[in-house]
């Protein structure tokens, strides 16, 4: 009983982490059909930005909640700026080209940004643990849960809700859905697709940075955190279906719970649980769980 509860809570926490990271990626892919490798850089920059923010506010002795908000806001600001620069400066140049070429542009950018991090923050690792520590913990029977993890899950759920509501009920959301469905027809209707593209990329960047900021208090912010995250995010998006927010949510939950179960019950397979799940899902549903097969165009 205790183990089942532990698996569920751990799965939820890991799923929250995956979802926050994956939602930006799936959005960008759904709208722009770009598989954005630079997403890993947004995550890393968000994490490093959060570490800097934590450094600033803990020296100035702000209250924990204010500091936490400051950290998130700073990370999103970094995402905003980076997203704008990249989209205007770089992606504009390659929009018309082959999908693969665009993926490689983002891969090249990721490599460059990895070293930019070293230039800005140096090779040492940073700690941003204050928010996690000040949140405290609660005991549920034998299990102790960190309150910060609960906050993570709450924010992820909030994000999911916000995304769903804005896609269905706001004007921008409905424009986005139209463009995802069929870009050309949307343009034919007079929708400013270029603007939608820019806005989406920037929002995706901000979400990626937010993911990094939220994870920063739990981990050591060090070189290479972007690399691991990319593959995880891709796997979740592949499972859920490109461009589907529900898909990212369900994909994150599946992977989170499977992985938690593996760690508790069969630790030997933990290393490839996520790839196994991805392979299985793709075999059964080639386009992911929530995207129906596209009608073949003649």
């Amino acid at each position: 009983m205790l183990i089942t509860f532990a698996i569920l809570t751990d799965g939820l926490v890991y799923a929250a982490y995956l979802f926050i990271v994956a939602i930006g990626l799936t959005l960008i892919f759904g709208v722009m059909k770009i598989l954005n490798v630079t997403h890993g850089s947004f995550y890393a920059f968000g994490a490093y930005g959060a570490a800097t923010a934590v450094g600033i506010y803990s020296n100035a002795d702000w209250p924990a909640a204010a500091g936490f908000l400051f950290m998130l806001v700073l990370a999103m600001a970094i995402g905003l700026v980076m997203g704008l620069i990249l989209e205007r400066g770089l992606l504009r140049l390659v929009y018309g080209k082959d999908e693969v070429v665009i993926v490689l542009v983002t891969y090249a950018t990721f490599l460059i940004l990895e070293d930019v991090i070293v230039l800005i923050w140096g090779p040492q690792s940073y700690a941003a643990y204050q928010p996690m520590v000040s949140a405290g913990n609660i005991e549920i029977g034998e299990l102790v849960l960190s309150n910060y993890d609960i906050v993570l899950v709450a924010i992820a759920a909030g994000l999911a809700g916000l995304a769903y509501w804005s896609l269905k009920f706001t004007r921008y959301g409905r424009l986005l859905t139209t463009v995802i469905f069929d870009r050309e027809t949307a343009a034919a209707f007079g929708i400013n697709v270029t603007l939608v593209y820019s806005a989406t990329f920037v929002i995706g960047a901000m979400l990626g940075a937010l993911g990094g900021a939220m994870m920063a208090p739990k981990i050591a912010v060090t070189l290479g955190i972007g690399v691991e995250v990319i593959v995880l995010a891709f796997a979740v998006v592949a499972i859920g279906g490109m461009g589907s927010i529900e898909g990212a949510l369900v994909g994150a939950l599946i992977v989170g719970i499977c992985r938690a179960a593996a760690v508790h019950l069969v630790p030997q397979i933990e290393l490839f649980v996520i790839y196994g799940v991805m392979a299985l899902v793709l075999v059964a549903r080639p386009y992911g769980l929530f995207v129906r097969a596209q009608p073949r165009k003649i």
Binding site: F29, V101, L119, I298
Partner: protein, 305 residues
């Protein structure tokens, strides 16, 4: 071009010979990627075949004492090819990003299995016994040169065969399949079979490349199946372009030279250098280095009266 490279070898310093051998071994994997790219598919999992080829060579040498280089690479290539035949049944049904993701997943599964296998040295891998060549057992410089010529030989044969394939019907159908599969099917051709065949060709080439690389480096480790290894092969493919067979070899060489140069001159920032080179290539030479060669050829032809 191959004859020139072969003849130049004894004159070059040893470190250039070994660097070039590895680059030319990797070029085989890139050639496989070019085959797939012509039909519009990018595989982020060629590291799977590369790793299989490498480990087969290393394991055979260790367990059976077979050290003949020719036998080893053939078995390595065939092993990878067999795996490709099996996987191809699944993979040939996918396109675009899903093809890339599934191939990535499969290579990462191999990575996970190898890392967990302590008897194979886990993540440290293990070393490859020095190869022999039909009884001839060279050392030091002679070994380096032998490996170099063997790699060049395999590359040349592969280049000729793949070139012939490109000129064949199946090869020529690549562009039409990329543009509009359904119409090709209306011609009575099974697109999935052709793609399956291409996956197998790329798999064999990947295995051969891995086998040669294993002997050139002298060590195999599970990292050879990691997705970043696949990524670097794709990187070279873009650098080279899908235009010509020779491009794969030139691109691989340039990549290795640039990487080594970057590490030598900017040890802490070589990733940035590599990334910048890729970016500039994509922006200004979208069809890769190979396109430079074909453009020159065309200009040469135009100027003849």
């Amino acid at each position: 071009m191959f004859l020139f490279a072969a003849a130049a070898a004894p004159l070059l310093p040893e470190w250039i010979v070994s660097l070039t051998t590895i680059a030319f071994a990797n070029a085989l994997v890139v050639l496989g990627l070019v085959v797939l790219w012509r039909v519009g598919l990018v595989s982020f999992g060629q590291a799977l075949y590369y790793c299989i080829g490498a480990y087969v060579v290393a394991l055979l040498a260790r367990w059976t004492g077979l050290t003949d280089a020719f036998a080893l690479i053939v078995i390595g290539g065939v092993a990878a090819g067999l795996v490709a035949v099996l996987i191809g049944f699944l993979l040939a049904r996918y396109r675009e990003i899903f093809f890339a993701m599934l191939s990535l997943a499969l290579s990462m599964i191999l990575y996970g299995v190898l890392v967990k296998t302590e008897s194979l040295g886990s993540s440290d891998g293990f070393s490859v016994t020095t190869p022999t060549f039909l009884g001839y057992a060279p050392h030091r410089e002679a070994l380096g040169l032998s490996l170099y010529w063997l790699t060049l030989g395999v590359d040349a044969i592969a280049a000729v065969l793949v070139g012939a394939y490109f000129r064949s019907v199946a090869g020529a159908l690549a562009a039409p399949i990329r543009d509009n599969e359904i119409r090709v099917e209306f011609l009575g051709v099974s697109v999935n079979s052709i793609i399956h065949a291409k996956v197998v060709i790329a798999g064999i080439l990947g295995g051969l490349g891995g086998a040669l690389a294993a002997m050139a480096i002298g060590h195999v480790d599970p990292n050879m199946a990691y997705w970043t290894t696949s990524g670097s092969f794709v990187f070279v493919t873009i650098l080279a372009g899908a235009g010509s067979v020779a491009a794969a070899f030139v691109g691989s060489l340039v990549f290795e030279a640039v990487r080594s140069f970057a590490v030598d001159v900017m040890p802490g920032l070589w990733q940035m250098t590599l990334g910048s080179v890729l970016l500039l290539t994509i922006l200004f030479l979208p069809d890769g280095l190979g396109s430079l060669v074909s453009r020159l050829k065309r200009r040469g032809e135009v100027q003849r009266p």
